[in-house]
């Protein structure tokens, strides 16, 4: 076995004419080292990891268990506490519905946050329809929750508190250790959606008193279609499964484990763990270069969310008086997103930005830049040039920019909302 991190990080060459990818919070390209680790498991070592009677099954089982250990290692868990799922959406659904349903005779209250991923919010709404009480905590202007408000929200009826570690749109990091301590003190389970956090910031399920943690493969340079859920054994967290039959994953998640995908997410965790510290430093430098370059050349731009408590690879900026989707079209040499990729088909401005108290007007002007493993300094300089050009082009076309230059406050105008 090669030592983790022994293989240098490959560079992904950008096909000629392809846009510069700056959307690492939507998804990450699979690392070629991960793909290489996965490939033999499709064609040569194709056994079912649950077959216990022959080499094909054993070698697949061994690979799956190694991957489970690699996932456990990056979050400080025991491998027995990690179950495989089809992705973070399933992990979040399973954690919330699973705990709520198992403990429903004793407790009926859930606490979560308004800026959670849609799959957490939709699951909570579903549980409300089933009769559970849900408290949706607000966030402060910087995107972080107020711990005093959280403490006040937890009651002896609270079964589970679900707070994401890192927000997918604005990249802010919630105070996990403090939240964990509060939950432990008050006797509620602490679930955290770590899809955007694993491999980006140090995580330790014991130090942070985390009881359940959702993990995604494709946000950490692993494959899509695989995720994991950490489920604490001591004190034990119990779940009602969503998918039954076969009894795999300690009865919490049935279905044949897809060996190549398990190997992929495991390898992705191992690489991320080995490279996290140096990568964080590199990305922080690139992000500062991006923000500095834009600020130097463009007035009236605003960073959404706390800049200090934020993962290195995220920047969310409002470009005042320029509409975000129009701007995206203007920077077609860049792959970026305006709001969350999941919601961008709708015309509603981001609910996350709205929750921070960002004006609807400004929410419409936001772009999310996601930087990652294959982002280079050249990419950043290229991005700055194109963004500046597009913003200037669109501002020259914007009636609101004219008003701003004329000193007219656009809020003072009676707009006919349509």
């Amino acid at each position: 076995m090669t030592a983790i991190g022994a293989k240098p990080c490959p560079t992904l060459s950008r096909p000629k004419g392809a846009p510069v990818y700056l959307d690492y919070q939507a998804t990450t390209p699979c690392d070629p080292r991960v793909v290489e680790a996965m490939l033999p498991w499709f064609t040569e070592k194709f056994g079912n990891p649950h077959s216990r009677n022959h080499l094909y099954g054993w070698e697949a089982e061994e690979a799956v268990e190694k991957a489970r250990e690699q996932i456990a290692a990056i979050i400080g868990a025991d491998a027995k506490e990690v179950i495989f799922t089809s992705g973070a959406t399933e992990s979040n659904n399973l954690a919330l519905k699973g705990v709520a349903h198992f403990y429903k005779d004793k407790k009926n209250h859930i606490v979560t946050v308004v800026t959670e991923h849609k799959c957490v919010l939709d699951t909570c709404r579903y549980l409300e329809q089933e009769g559970f009480q849900v408290t949706y905590l607000p966030v402060q202007a910087n995107g972080l929750i107020d711990l005093a408000e959280l403490e006040a929200a937890i009651t002896d009826q609270t079964a589970i508190v679900s707070v994401m570690a890192v927000n997918n749109e604005i990249g802010v990091i919630q105070p996990l250790a403090e939240i964990g301590a509060l939950c432990r003190k008050k006797g509620a389970f602490f679930h955290t959606d770590c899809a955007q956090a694993v491999g980006k910031i140090p995580l330790d399920v014991n130090a942070m008193n985390i009881d359940l943690m959702s993990i995604s493969g494709h946000k950490i340079y692993g494959p899509k279609g695989i995720g994991a859920l950490f489920v604490r054994r001591r004190p034990r967290v119990r779940l009602v499964p969503l998918i039954t039959g076969g009894g795999q994953e300690r009865g919490m998640r049935s279905g044949t484990l897809p060996t190549p995908l398990c190997v992929g997410i495991g390898e992705a965790c191992a690489i991320a763990q080995a490279e996290m510290a140096s990568e964080a430093e590199r990305l922080t430098g690139l992000r500062n270069r991006l923000l500095g370059g834009l600020r130097q050349r463009l007035p009236e731009i605003y960073v959404n969310g706390d800049l200090d408590n934020r993962i290195p690879g995220n920047l969310n900026i409002s470009f005042a008086f320029v509409e975000g989707e129009g701007l995206m079209m203007g920077v077609k040499e860049l792959a970026v997103s305006s709001g969350s990729a999941c919601t961008s088909a709708s015309l509603e401005p981001s609910y996350v930005l709205r929750a921070l108290g960002v004006d609807v007007e400004m929410a419409h002007t936001s772009l999310r830049f996601g930087l990652g493993r294959f982002t280079s300094g050249e990419d950043i300089d290229f991005a700055i040039d194109h963004i500046v050009e597009a913003v200037e082009h669109l501002r020259a076309m914007s009636p609101l920019w004219d008003m701003h230059l004329d000193g007219v406050d656009i809020k003072s105008i009676q707009w006919a909302e349509h």
Binding site: F321, V322, E323, E325, G326, M329, G330, A345, L347, P349, D359, V360, E361, H364, A396, M397, S398, P399, L400, W401, D402, I410, W415, A416, E417, H418
Partner: protein, 133 residues
Amino acid sequence: MAYSDKVIDHYEHPRNVGALDKDDGAVGTGLVGAPACGDVMKLQIKVSAEGIIEDAKFKTFGCGSAIASSSLVTEWVKGKTLDEAASIKNTDIAQELALPPVKIHCSVLAEDAIKAAIADYKKKSGKDEEAAE
């Protein structure tokens, strides 16, 4: 979503961006939409003594489809009488630009902008009653 070639062309090479003197009696200005809704269009027309639109300018805050819709209508209204311009329908704009269903409101806004500019011109030149006859 994929934009049509015509939308991209108007977005990249917008026709008639700019402003006319809003205090000129021959100029009608329409300002429609709202920043909170993600699009604002300002459309201005300059009308000759014969009632022909001889110039049109726009400025738009919005997505590519909104920019393209306003750019397109500045081309369309030029050389038309006020009545002809007022008869431009949002469906014509949507069809010309092959707008997807979620972007139909951009064409509606452009139609509104024409109507608002004409109304402003008529109001300024005291032709409201004349038009009503």
